[in-house]
């Protein structure tokens, strides 16, 4: 359930290396299941510059609100605008059509500091 080619954060974002200096990110299967039915997503603005760990959006389920954190430092170059009308895609396809945003990393070395799939599974197993 935890794709091996992705990297993760302890705040339950996944990150995919697009091999062009950009990364795509979203929230994990574990996170979408814990949140329940997602009914609202507020995305970051394209062009905004963020530091890793910055709050850059909100995800709201029927019962709770959670912040979305930038997994790396850099600039937002694209967002998944479809989530504004179809937030439930985050539940249905957290690693696919439910992606949040793409960032241009300020420093490619950040990739190595993210959690591996095994590390993330260990983290959620102990949660």
């Amino acid at each position: 359930m935890t794709p091996g080619e992705l990297r993760y954060t302890s705040s339950h974002e996944w990150i995919r290396d697009e091999t062009d200096g950009t990364v795509t990110f979203g929230i994990t299967e574990y996170a979408q299941h814990a949140l329940g039915d997602i009914v609202f997503v507020a995305l970051p603005s394209v062009g905004s510059t963020l530091s890793a760990g910055d709050s850059c959006g909100e995800i709201e389920s029927t019962k709770s609100v959670s912040e979305i954190y930038a997994p790396v430092s850099g600039e937002i170059v694209a967002v998944n605008g479809e989530l504004e009308t179809r937030p439930e895609r985050v539940n249905a396809e957290p690693y696919g059509g439910g992606w949040f945003a793409r960032m241009h990393m300020s420093d490619a070395g950040q990739w190595g500091q993210l959690l591996s799939a095994a590390d993330y599974e260990a983290l959620t197993a102990s949660a």
Binding site: G36, D37, V39, F40, T62, K63, E84, E88
Partner: protein, 362 residues
């Protein structure tokens, strides 16, 4: 911290994979498969809720009806034997201790279903006033309640051989296997539906039989999450959020459930004064027209100034929009534009009269 109470159906909720949470001191299912899907099942087909956490109080003996009528706000003489009525118990200041359903079996036999967290307070009010020949039995744990709600609810009950022909807000006691089940045309969803009040010992069997028929009818068990989105779409107030001892039935728009012509009921003098003077604020519907989901306790603004606060707020699965209830000054009219402060973002909204979606209770 005291341990949470559990209903006779607790083990079944766990087996069904429910997410459980504390609700009024009871460990209750919040959702099974998901609130949005459960909500849709009840609007479109049928769903069942365990609402056994609700209180159950039986008041019997000579003069029981008039004793109850001298306390509760609504007039029990407006209904006949075999009917149920929405009512309230108020403080002498006119605040709402609880809202509840009064079931009138006869002049000497009244049954009351208060909210879980207020049941003890309601029982205490009655006990403090009760004359000797009348008996008050707190049956909170002796009986359970299963709500069967949705357009196909009658199909489900008919499959179990239970009666379904009675009117909205009427009840019929019927045999089911070795038990007597009270079948009430009541609910908290805005759909045609029934609430089954049954002995605690029968509840597991009854739930299992209902589950078979509900599943066959394309329905689902539903948790208190869906119950909350369904009732909010109808604008039904929730005690502890929209109404409390610091709000009156007049401000809450519940004057229709007050027996104004009765000679006596708790809070009568205070409420008549509030009614005569007019409330300074009213509970209104607030329908978001922009993007954002209001939640309880969010400021409501008009023309740059805060004018009120939301008491309930949620995502409406039917409208796919945010909806809320809020106390607003009486000079703010239905149709006016307001803004809800959703964590620092002002979201445009319109003042409306609930229900937010059409009622199908009848």
């Amino acid at each position: 911290m005291t341990a949470l109470q559990r209903t006779p159906l607790f083990d079944r909720h766990v087996r069904l994979g429910a997410k459980l949470a504390d609700f009024g001191g009871w460990e209750m299912p919040i959702e099974y498969s998901g609130t949005v899907g459960e909500h849709a099942a009840i609007r479109d087909a049928v769903g069942i809720f365990d609402v056994s956490h609700m209180g159950k109080v039986r008041i019997t003996g000579p003069g029981a009806l008039d004793f109850v009528n001298g306390i509760v706000a609504n007039d029990v003489h407006r209904i006949a034997d075999g009917q149920a009525q929405y009512s309230m118990v108020c403080t002498e200041d006119g605040g709402i201790i609880d809202d509840l359903i009064v079931y009138r079996f006869g002049p000497e036999d009244i049954f009351i279903v208060p909210n879980a967290s207020n049941a003890a307070a309601v029982v205490a009010v009655f006990r403090a006033a009760v004359p000797p020949p009348i008996h008050i039995a707190d049956q909170h744990h002796e009986r359970g309640i299963i709500a069967v709600q949705g357009p196909r609810s009658a199909d489900v009950l008919e499959a179990l051989g239970l009666p379904t022909d009675h009117d909205y807000m009427a009840m019929v006691e019927a045999p089911w296997r070795d038990y007597r089940v009270l079948v009430c045309r009541t609910g908290y969803t805005g759909e045609r539906g029934f609430e089954l009040i049954a002995p605690a010992a029968s509840l597991g069997e009854l739930w299992d039989a209902l589950m078979v028929e509900v599943t066959a009818a394309g329905g689902t068990p539903a948790g208190l999450g869906a119950r909350d989105t369904l009732r909010t779409e109808m604008g039904y107030p929730l005690h502890g959020q929209d109404i409390s001892t610091s709000t009156t039935p007049v401000a809450a728009g519940l004057g229709w459930a007050v027996g104004w012509d009765k000679p006596a009921f708790h809070g009568r003098d205070a409420l008549l004064a509030v009614k005569a003077a007019g409330p300074d604020r009213r509970l209104r519907g607030v329908k978001v027209v922009g993007r954002g989901i209001p939640r309880p306790h969010m400021p409501v603004h008009r023309a740059g100034a805060q004018v009120g606060e939301t008491t309930s707020g949620t995502f409406s699965p039917t409208l796919r929009q945010g909806i809320a209830l809020a106390y607003l000054p009486v000079d703010i009219a239905v149709g006016d534009s307001v803004q809800v402060d959703v964590r620092g973002t002002l979201v445009d909204a319109e003042v409306v009269t609930p229900p937010f979606v059409p009622s199908h209770v009848r």
